[in-house]
């Protein structure tokens, strides 16, 4: 048995692969549920349907998806150009920290300008954090994977220091939390008592922008060419450094916006627990969504749903929390397996004594 690359992997299958992976995940999930002694269909219903069967549930899905989608939208553009920004987490945290600090400063100010200033400060902070990596990459050729990961830790430590120190609530018994933000600094919610804010529209709008940029502009063309072949991009006379700056600043800004959507949205204060891994989950979302804006949207909805489903399965079925991780793991495993088998194939070679293997290779490839 041998594994070899397919000469022409089917492009249709490349896009169907996530659906295939989802199907396989559901089947395996059903098997796991029945092995745990639960009715498989009812369990899948409790995991994937029940959490979003009410208006409240749907609104909560969007609450969960908002920061994921914002981070993923920025990363889509970066990853298309093979600029590996692993630092959305740090850009998220730094954006949240600065937006939070500005919100606290503006606690006593009223006026229409307050919220735009808060949002802009978070976005600019995210851009600044990504800008450090851009500078290190374009100036000193320091690889962005390393610098952005390291900047994640620095951002989290800065947040901890601020919340334990200068931004700690004076009336909070020394607990590491800021004051609650004033209402005028919070993102408006869409309706009623639901927590979903206008940030979801910003996310969708930016996703549409990314789509247009990729398909209709020179910048998008350059991005795609750079992703295909960096050398070719250079020969074509594209300014690679400028492109790296634009892409990193854009994705940093989006991650900063995600930070704003979280602290000035459902959380409403700075705490030590803001880094929940949205920036890392967004990386998975971008790959699962094939770096395509529509795919990214679907993947973020699906991953958001696995979190809600995991909570609901605990409440209604009494299943452990690990079921969330199991589903996310299965999904990723099957996706990678499908991708691999779409670009590669397994060839069964009959055993033929001690003939050198290169002979059989020639036979197979010529047939």
């Amino acid at each position: 048995m041998r594994i070899e690359a397919r000469p022409t992997p089917s492009p249709t299958m490349r896009y169907l692969s996530p659906l295939l992976a989802l199907g396989l995940t559901l089947i395996t999930g059903a098997a796991i549920f029945s092995a745990l002694g639960k009715a498989p269909l009812a369990s899948l219903h409790a995991f994937f349907i029940e959490p979003v069967s009410t208006v409240y549930g749907l609104s909560e899905l969007f609450v969960k998806v908002t920061p994921l989608l914002l981070c993923a939208t920025g990363l889509t553009l970066c990853f298309r150009a093979k600029v590996w920004n692993i630092g959305a987490e740090g850009q998220f945290v730094f954006g949240a920290l600065i937006a939070g600090a500005v919100s606290l400063q503006l606690a006593d100010h009223q006026g229409f300008w307050v919220l735009p200033v808060v949002i802009a400060s978070g976005v600019l902070a995210g851009m600044a954090w990504a800008g450090i990596a851009a500078l290190l990459l374009t100036r000193f050729r320091a690889h962005e994977i390393l610098t952005t990961i390291m900047l994640n830790y620095i951002a989290i430590q800065l947040l901890l220091w601020s919340v334990h120190g200068p931004l700690k609530s004076p009336s909070g018994y020394n607990f590491p939390e800021s004051e609650l933000f004033s209402p005028q600094t919070l993102l408006p919610t869409l309706w009623g008592q639901y927590r979903v804010t206008i940030a979801i529209f910003i996310a969708l709008l930016m996703l549409a922008v990314v789509w247009t940029v990729l398909n209709r502009t020179l910048l998008g063309y350059q991005t795609r060419v750079m992703g295909e072949n960096r050398q070719a991009a250079r020969f074509a006379g594209f300014n690679g450094n400028r492109l790296i700056w634009v892409l990193l600043l854009f994705s940093g800004g989006m991650a900063g916006m995600a930070g704003v959507s979280e602290v000035n949205g459902p959380v409403g204060q700075l705490t030590t627990n803001l880094a929940l891994g949205y920036g890392y989950t967004a990386i998975i979302i971008v790959f699962m969504g094939r770096m395509h804006p529509l795919g990214v949207l679907l993947a973020s909805l699906l991953l958001g749903l696995t979190y809600l489903g995991g909570e609901n399965a605990q409440m209604t079925l009494g299943l452990p929390k690990s079921i969330t991780g199991v589903f996310q793991g299965l999904l990723l495993f099957f996706l990678l397996a499908c991708d691999f088998l779409i670009s590669h194939r397994i060839v069964l070679t009959p055993m033929r004594g001690h003939r050198p293997s290169n002979t059989s290779t020639r036979e197979v490839t010529s047939s």
Binding site: S53, V63, P176, N312, P320
Partner: protein, 358 residues
Amino acid sequence: MKAPTLISLGLSAALALSSPLHAAEDPLKVGFVYVSPIGDAGWTYMHDRARKIVDKEFGDRVETTYVESVSEGSDSQRVIRNLSANGHDLIFTTSFGYMNPTLRVARQFPNVRYEHATGYKTAENVGNYQARAYQGRYLAGMAAGAMTETDTIGYVAGFPIPEVLRGINAFTLGVREVNPDASVSVSWINSWHDPAKERESAASLIRQDADVLTMHADSPAVVQAAQDEGVYGIGYNSNMKSYGPDAHLTSVMMHWEPIYQEKIQAVLNDSWEPESIWYGLSEGVVKMAPMHSDIPEAVVERINTHRDALINGDREVFQGPINNQDGEEIVAKGDALKDQQLLEINWYVEGIEGKLPN
């Protein structure tokens, strides 16, 4: 769940609360929200152990639900709200970071009662509870002070918040009670549950000469490290002897069941009030695991005497004279720190090495 079902659930919950007859038929639904996986040891394990005890004890009258590993950010508010909408009558939220989410949900569900652990805010339908773990820390410190040969004791700690500082200070007072030459080194890990980091910090404290270790974190990694490196370890939350049979001096154990029994009974009797309760050794919420056989009989006796004095109220952990790290007297002889001062404590007592972060 559709809106009409929601309303009818809310109605039936309201009915269950208002009429004792109805309450006798429908079990009281009690929800628990946990910050980490239940696991086999630690903070959440002890809360869940208490849940199982009350679930069994109240039998048909009570039905319990839990959700584990709920992060303290925006997720917790959704989980608490879903439990409330699901017809739960009493919800225990067992981590500090759930305080504001609990209060926000409580405003939307005036008929549901909430109990938040380790916080400081209350509302009409929100009470809070915590344990005087520092009393146990003091007794554990006495054991550590008696057993150290290098006069250096290592303490792996989560976050520098008052609850943790109270524990470190009380532990150090206990250490110095039996061994005035010994000092305590603290290593901060900025996490409640990170076994790898807990272990790493334990190893680095041992390299700095510590021969007794304890921790304020959720996993038994520090006790395991103590066992592997041949030093003593003191557990926290649950009895951690099985993680280091030779190393384990004792554990400061948190038994939440007296609080859960009391609160559930109060809701059943319709006498529940939003209050702040702080129970310790006297109420059986804080307990000590059996002492290691290496600890001399005389030391064990001394520890027991101090324990009895704390239970009877003959002495307090934070009674003067107490100096701070710089040697300035903070509590005079004959005085003791008040609960309010303990709640916001933000300084180190004498005998702790290193600077307090911020």
